[in-house]
Subunit: 380 residues, 2 copies
């Protein structure tokens, strides 16, 4: 077996944002050498990797050249040149997870069709190529509209409640999905390695920001009853198997008031909904991703403590970030701020997160309430 | 107050070994920019800091130039040019902890005299400048001989049991100390910030390698009864106050069979005896050091779990390290290997460590027994 640690083996990571940065903490602990490709010379991963390459993730030749310079390629972002990854695979350079997963997941209509084809529960939907086609097929409101591509952090998704909402929809390919109002949203981080071993972290529950459609906080464990949590885990395992995953994947699911579970979407990489694992689980999602892509034994997915995670989102002004209240937060026991190191803050941009642990979930939630409004970040 | 995070503030770290590398995990989490000075272009911290400078830590001009290029200087090693640090302080660049601490601690005779002068309990001793002076003052054997300078990881220390041992002692300045046979050895990591806040981690107990005079494993909590642990903490606080410490310091102590506690020596920096804090305490020793030197509020020193730490020591052959058994160890729950990334292994060199946590100390110790002989490193 390859000796990954303290050797000439180099792991190539496409994307140098906060997810890459946190993955680099795990490669450092095991002394696995890395190279990172990112368009920004000020990306959070700069100064944390053995070799940083500045370049465009959507450029075929850039990704190909980068991939050829390393021993195995993984991604911390989905917006990457998939054809270059396919070419790398042909040349014998492993890409984990497979480029085909990114191809499917990168188009929401294809992703939904995949679930339908494989018997994975997902909310009823129809797809369309043009707005005219959408209008033709549209039934009673409300429904959820999603652009097939280009959506991220709330862009490209809308609830259509009335004619005004329908008129505002752009003329792009997409899908219309049933609207479920009072639903819970959960995420299961699941890891798989090429040997076929699978491990799922316990479900976490996401609470969304009322206007920004971003996760405001999440808590683990979720409020799901044991049978429902077991059912969600089965669905996540089904997703992992059907996609033939390698590394970690976030499987985001809806739970309806009638306790039906539907897969919303997946992210085949470390994910915002798994940050709490760093402090509150035996194994972090980043370590688990590393184990999965390198075909190492997967780590224990068990929780050590209940935890809450708060995103630190940019305030109204764009500019160099000024953080207020961080010193006060540092006085609290069991509170772990992570500052990603982005050089520009923008409204609702993810600038960092805070994990709060507790002996009980109530204790962690109480800590979260105390610190929620302490820390702000805004541009100057 | 200075905004340390995501700003132009740069922390300068003298030494780029494993202690520096682990400190860099904490600066990364808070996005505090760093520069590291180390003589080796392959030091463990390379690729983990914003700016790496290759240069000699004992060279006056090198240390001075490095210090002038940063906003605050700290050290992960004691073998540094103290005059350059004194000059930096004169120029208004904070050095934490103070250079005078390194001056005192760097000479074991001066260190012992410091304890005596400040009423800090330490084993009875006498100092000498030459071997002739030592022989003149020498009483009955056994005693412990220590060179005043140059000792590290078992070099420069010897138990003199017979005339042969006495003959083998080199003619250098040093000290002779009472020998205590069946003693326990403990360490308390204590942090202080310039505002005067002090926080002590619970005592850890060190178990030594039978021949190499290196820590083989340590466990936390120690076996000390509560009153004795409280007394050890008081002594550590006395040390922190008398030295006017900033950042973290390891206070190593002997506990005699009659339950007397004596300070053996201190290391005014993160220390091998504090590695377990990374996984098993609310705050790691490295984060606590960072908080201490930057005059931030100190973190909670409380333990989350009992823990055991095993050093990974180099096998008999010098060369590029080959690790055996790491994959097997990764199958165990609650077991955290750290590979420092040294490019050459030597007999008994610290190549890494493993932290093992458990719901009880017995569980952590059982895990340690299981993995102790699984992982080896040797040169090729």
């Amino acid at each position: 077996m390859t000796q990954y640690w303290s050797s000439s083996f180099t792991l190539g990571i496409l994307g140098g944002g906060q997810l890459g940065k946190m993955l680099l903490d795990e490669t450092a602990r095991l002394d696995i050498h890395t190279a990172v490709l990112d368009p920004s010379a000020e990306a959070p991963s700069v100064g944390r990797t053995n070799r940083f390459v500045q370049g465009k993730l959507m450029d075929y030749q850039t990704v190909l050249d980068f991939g050829r310079s390393v021993n195995l390629v993984t991604c911390e972002i989905e917006h990457i040149n998939i054809d270059a990854l396919r070419q790398l695979e042909k040349e014998g350079i492993p890409v984990r997870p497979s480029p085909e997963i990114f191809a499917t997941v990168g188009n929401k209509a294809h992703q939904k069709a995949f679930y339908q084809r494989h018997g994975i529960p997902t909310l009823p939907f129809f797809t369309f190529e043009t707005k005219a086609e959408m209008l033709e097929k549209l039934g009673p409101l409300p429904v959820v509209w999603k652009a097939a591509t280009g959506g991220y952090d709330g862009r490209g998704v809308a609830i259509l409640r009335n004619q005004e909402d329908v008129d505002a929809v752009p003329d792009v390919p997409g899908l219309i999905e049933d609207y479920v109002g009072a639903k819970r949203e959960i995420s299961i981080l699941i890891a798989r390695n090429p040997s076929g071993e699978t491990q799922a972290f316990p479900a976490v529950e996401m609470v969304f920001h009322p206007t920004a459609n971003l996760v405001q906080h999440l808590h683990s464990p979720s409020s799901l009853a044991p049978e429902l949590a077991a059912r969600a885990k089965e669905i996540a395992e089904q997703v992992a198997e059907k996609f033939d995953l390698a590394g970690i994947t976030a499987v985001e699911m809806f739970v309806t008031p009638g306790n039906k579970i539907y897969v919303n979407e997946i992210a085949p990489r470390p994910h915002n909904s798994g940050h709490h694992t760093i402090e509150s689980h035996f194994t972090s999602q980043h370590e688990q991703h590393l184990r999965g892509i390198l075909d190492l034994p997967l780590g224990s997915p068990r929780a050590l403590f209940p935890a809450v995670m708060l995103n630190i989102l940019g305030g109204p002004d764009t500019g160099a970030p000024i953080y207020r209240g961080l010193v006060d937060i540092m006085k609290e026991e069991g509170v772990y701020p992570h500052i990603y190191g982005k050089t520009e803050t923008r409204p609702f941009r993810k600038m960092g997160h805070i994990t709060l642990i507790g002996a009980t979930l109530d204790e962690a939630l109480a800590r979260a309430e105390r610190v929620r409004n302490m820390l702000t970040v805004n541009g100057q």
